[in-house]
Subunit: 335 residues, 2 copies
């Protein structure tokens, strides 16, 4: 049995091994990914993002439990963890989860440290999602911290993106919300038993109102949205307005309602044709990243290390601008 | 006079126009950048990053004022703002700054919204820093929000990176700190008049201790560090241990001491040779990004849109893996 066949057959050890190869961008991993690719395209990818302190991990944990208990779905969790491996941040987070989800063969949790290279994180996450998808997981939950560009890129991989907030998280959190609203399909106010929850909801609502003129063009099929009513856009077709869901993840409150919201969003995507559009966008990003990587690798084979070093040295001495250096290196290619 | 000559001559309007061209990656901007490049390499680039709510903007504001009043240095501020343009977050932040720094011709403040493309943010920031550097600004302060990958990449541009914390910012902030410690040259506890400041400092200290075994190899020249004593590494040469500085930016407290710390770090970088190493690393990243961009542009000219679309369609239908599609497209290049 090949490695990819073992993964398709449900071998957890083979799965874990492949995830590591994929994260390290190993050649073996790429071969297996190519073999697995025809089996992808079925999973619902759910992104969960938000500022530190919002309780994202507990929320993801509870969502996974909910899907296991009520719908018997297979759930994979990719936790994109900004902490460095040696501080053990990732391990600790996993242990907390493990207590509730341990021993369930239909759950797989994977932590990923951020990679050094630009684009590496989004690329690895995309590839790992494909592995889980092919391996038959119905839901792949991708959890990221913060509102950085790479978190946004990771969130773009998802079919449904949850943006998690919590009451009372400091004064310039508004700026974060503004940027992240654009990627939110569902807004979650976690820790909703805390004081200030009304203010948080009011702030989110007014930001949604503000965002509306420039809002996304996704059509939705006429269902009443929780909390806020759908608004008509200029083409007079109803759109998806991100609902605001309150949860208290540590007590499991609001989780069933949130899962319903997620299901409603998936149905909306399917009926409106946006599921296919997002798939296309996602695969295009992946194709472009691979083209870029292949081109750079070829280029680096074509020029010698000493050519490259000489150009860099001239740049450092300010005898050559980086743009002129690129021209020089392109002309010096052996092929 | 060419555009770049006007910038060198101190024309603020020409500078503003060039910054816009550079941010938009316009061809004119690139020509001017090439002309300006020989004039770069003098400015001290200072990165300031931290979670929302830490008061980074006030801190940067106060630092700029300090440099103006006590050292008569020319200061540029690049505020990398994650909020979307239409919410006006950036404008508001600028107005607050403007009150204190308005009308000073030796200060230039520029806000930048995050760009859509991966790498775009770090690349634009690097290019804008070069413009300010060539235009004769002594200090370029690059302020970023959060701990995302692109914030880390932006911070890597800097010679000196300040990581700003504040007491009492939620429970899983620890995870952020762990990741960001690796890029910190100086740790700032702003809002140090708030309750919990002792705990924040204790937490930072113990994380520094934890981080130490794998710590950076920068040498330092034997000065006593504030707050924490320098520790000897295995090669028994003293290293730079990030000092912890307390500030209350809104009242200007601790700013002079922080500026001293920054100056000490610059001296350390120069004496140890790390300044040159960081310059080299920075220019190498820039060269690589330009190579990548040029290769992709050439490739996209070489293949037809219909070739690309056909390959993407096959991927979407799961008839072709992304990796096989890249091979197909590479073989179909017209050159």
């Amino acid at each position: 049995m090949t490695h990819s066949q073992s993964v398709l057959a449900g071998d957890r050890l083979a799965l874990a091994r492949l995830l590591t190869q994929v994260e390290n961008n190993a050649p073996d991993g790429r071969i297996a990914l190519t073999e697995l690719f025809p089996h992808t395209g079925k999973a619902h990818l759910i992104g969960v993002t938000g500022a530190p302190g919002t309780g994202k991990s507990s929320l993801v944990n509870q969502l996974a439990l909910h899907y296991r208990k009520t719908q018997n779905k297979r759930v994979a969790i990719i936790a994109v963890d900004p902490s460095s491996p040696f501080t053990g941040g990732a391990v600790l987070g996993d242990r907390v989860r493990m207590r509730d989800l341990a021993g369930d063969p239909a759950v797989f949790i994977r932590s990923m440290a951020t990679r050094g290279s630009l684009g590496g994180l989004a690329q690895s996450t995309a590839a790992m999602s494909q592995v889980f998808d092919a391996a038959g997981f119905d839901l792949v939950i991708i959890e990221t911290v913060g509102a950085g560009q790479s978190e946004v890129d990771v969130a773009r991989l998802a079919h449904t993106t949850l943006v998690v907030e919590a009451p009372g998280l400091g004064d310039d959190i508004q700026a974060i919300k503004a940027g992240i609203l654009e990627i939110a399909d569902i807004l979650v106010i976690n820790k909703a038993d805390r004081p200030g929850v009304e203010n948080t909801e009011k702030a989110l609502k007014s930001m949604l109102d503000l965002a509306h003129p420039a809002a996304r063009v996704f059509q939705h099929h006429g269902q009443a949205m929780p909390t806020i009513a759908p608004v008509q856009d200029s083409s007079s077709a109803p759109m998806w307005i991100p609902p605001i869901q309150r949860t208290v993840a540590t007590e499991g409150r609001g989780i069933a309602e949130l899962a319903e919201s997620i299901a409603r969003h998936a149905a909306h995507l399917t009926h409106s044709g946006d599921w296919a559009l997002r798939e296309r966008a996602r695969l295009e990003v992946e194709l472009d990243a691979l083209i870029r990587e292949t081109l750079v690798n070829q280029f680096m084979e074509d020029i010698s290390q000493s050519q490259y070093d000489a150009a860099l040295e001239k740049i450092i001495q300010r005898n050559l601008s980086p743009w002129d250096a690129v021209k020089l290196l392109m002309n010096g290619r052996s092929k």
